[in-house]
């Protein structure tokens, strides 16, 4: 028995590795991966390395500029250490972004698969609904809902997910429509498999590539959205810090303490750029034809 030369497994592994290799050969994708991993490590491990927690108030060091003593990023108007708050805020912001991505991807995928597979009236109705949601500038819809509904971190996550599932739905619908006509689907139908089984066990695995790409880009978008509504005061509420609400109030101290605005903004930019780079790298690696440019 030779377990090294069996013909089936190496071919399969080769196919998988090719995507991984293409991803690894893409400098931008690697840069993105490093940015996201670095930021995640900083946010989850950083707090253990700092002498302050995010609530500690150093009254003698209010408005301390970066690199004052142990305050590497300086302090805020209350004398709280910005680094400690930044890392804790990062946990919150990234969790919100990640959860919002999971929820909106599930909604978008279900809508997209059903619309694409069923077609006809159901498909048209669902896709018109997607178009209708996309007609609202998402910032407006998001802010209105956030202002109307009592903001808790979970609610904010749900609202962000609720306003960002449409892109995924559109992409999945287009993919499913083209897969639907392939032979293996016809075979499954002739075997008498149920529609639910065909949609989610036969077709879904074949459209995973575009979903993964869209999901990665949705994380970036969700982090941006959370930052914006929290910046305006309608998102995550203090004392729980988020990158967005750290920027809230930074505007009035812009002249005296610019680091209050610069440090969290940089963190947001690094996170969003990182996820966008990864998403684009995945698009190339998984050979997903881009549908929107």
């Amino acid at each position: 028995m030779s377990d090294t030369l069996s013909p089936a497994t190496p071919r399969r592994r080769f196919g998988k590795n090719r995507a991984v290799r293409r991803f690894m050969n893409n400098p931008l994708a690697i840069a993105g991966l490093l940015m996201v991993l670095g930021l995640t490590a900083a946010c989850f491990l950083g707090p253990y390395l700092l002498p302050f927690d995010e609530f500690y108030i150093d009254l003698r060091a209010r408005f301390a500029p970066p690199l004052t003593g142990a305050h590497i990023f300086g302090t805020d108007p209350l004398g709280r250490d910005i680094a400690a708050r930044l890392f804790h805020a990062g946990q919150v912001s990234m969790m919100v972004g990640f959860l919002a991505m999971v929820i909106s991807t599930v909604i978008g995928t279900v809508v997209g698969v059903v619309a694409g597979y069923r077609g006809g009236w159901t498909g048209t109705a669902l896709m018109r609904l997607v178009d209708a949601f996309l007609s609202f500038p998402s910032v407006f819809l998001l802010l209105t809902l956030a202002a109307f509904i009592k903001p808790s971190p979970m609610m904010i996550t749900l609202i962000i997910a609720f306003t960002s599932w449409m892109e995924v739905a559109r992409i999945v619908e287009a993919e499913v429509k083209s897969v639907r006509e392939r032979e293996f689907v016809m075979a499954a139908r002739m075997l008498g498999l149920s529609n639910g089984w065909i949609m989610f066990r036969e077709i879904l695995p074949n459209v995973m590539g575009p979903i993964v790409v869209a999901a990665t880009l949705t994380v970036a978008r969700s982090i941006l959205m959370e930052a914006y509504i929290s910046f305006l005061g309608y998102g995550i509420q203090p004392p729980l810090p988020s990158w967005g609400n750290m920027l809230n109030g930074a505007q009035q101290y812009l002249a005296a303490a610019p680091w209050l605005a610069i440090v969290p903004g940089l963190a947001i930019t690094i996170a969003v750029t990182g996820f966008n780079f990864i998403g684009d790298g995945l698009r190339d690696a998984l050979d997903v034809r881009s549908h929107n440019g």
Binding site: L129, A132, V139, A220, F231, T269
Partner: protein
């Protein structure tokens, strides 16, 4: 052409109905619903509130209420602002011009720069310029617009003192030059993101045209490369851009609204945020509906324009 027109118009009407349905659902999520305005009045009793609810028809079934609300919307009766009791449409109209000015200026700027970057990247695909611009565009798309606004204010207004930090004009001035000076910073900040969008689309559109047969024919005929580029390639690459401009409208509008909030630009975005702060729900809902309708009309116009310019679509 007539069939295309009717079909496209019908599609817009269906979308408009769906948009209004979503709007109505959101309206009913407002705390206290449409009654919140009266609930805050001092000395308001439960009985009086019930009476107002009955007068306003709020105890009727929701579908009836929706039809009533929709009919008023169609007639242009969008309610009155809680803040100053002016009709909602009038309030929106007084802020529309500022938003359109900002959007127009920045779209013009970003289309010129983005178009140039996109075309240059496409005809020199794989060059250092192409690669650098790809990275730059990605970063530009990732930076939060409102944060760029803050940084721009810090550098150009607070540190260098070159440009005003906000508002549309200096109190007591308001001349054209004054408005233009105030326009520079928000326009450039908004353009940063938009340039990236246009550059990427223009690059893709140009790449699609560059390798087609008629371009090779033009080269074979010995036409000047510059003439081929400007007339044959760019001319054809611009076509899909019209549709994309329509599709990007919600993003462009959203970006303008975000920028306005940072620069206290007196447009719809600023109005929206102020109204949220005052719990002025009629104006909030009005703006939500108005912006969606603006987007739908923009999409329709873009499609009609493409059909007008490109005979292939009309005949389909």
């Amino acid at each position: 052409m007539a069939r295309f027109l009717i079909g496209r118009l019908w599609q817009s009407i269906v979308l408009l109905l769906l948009v209004s349905l979503i709007g109505f659902m959101v309206l009913n999520l407002a705390p206290g619903g449409p009654l919140s305005q009266y609930a805050l009045t001092p000395g308001m009793t439960k009985e009086a509130l019930d009476r107002i609810a009955e007068q306003m028809g709020l105890n009727r079934p929701l579908p009836l209420q929706y039809l009533d609300w929709l009919w008023k919307l169609v007639q242009g009766d969008w309610g009155r602002s809680f803040r100053d009791n002016r009709p909602v449409l009038e309030v929106i109209n007084s802020h529309l011009y500022a938003t359109l000015l900002l959007m127009g200026a920045s779209t013009l700027l970003s289309m010129l720069i983005g178009g140039w970057i996109g075309i240059r990247s496409a005809i020199r695909q794989g060059s250092a310029f192409d690669y650098t611009m790809t990275v730059v565009c990605f970063v530009a798309l990732s930076i939060p617009t409102f944060w760029v606004g803050l940084v721009a204010i810090f550098i150009f207004s607070l540190r260098l003192g070159w440009l005003p930090a906000g508002n549309m004009y200096t109190v007591g001035d308001g001349s054209l030059g004054d408005v233009l000076v105030h326009l520079i910073l928000p326009t450039c900040v908004l353009a940063l993101v938009n340039v990236a969008i246009w550059a990427r689309y223009m690059r893709a559109a140009t790449l699609e045209v560059v390798n087609q047969d008629f371009v090779r024919t033009a080269h074979a005929k010995g036409l000047a490369p510059r003439r081929i580029l400007m007339k044959h390639i760019v001319g054809n690459a611009l076509l899909p851009m019209i549709t994309l401009a329509g599709m990007q409208l919600p993003t462009l509008l959203g970006g303008a609204l975000v920028t306005e909030t940072v620069f206290t630009w007196p447009g719809m975005g600023r109005l929206f945020l102020d109204s949220l702060g005052y719990n002025d729900y009629p104006v909030v809902m009005g703006l939500l509906m108005f912006s969606a309708i603006l987007v739908l009309v923009g999409n329709l116009l873009a499609d009609l324009l493409v059909a007008f310019v490109d005979p292939r679509i009309r005949l389909e």
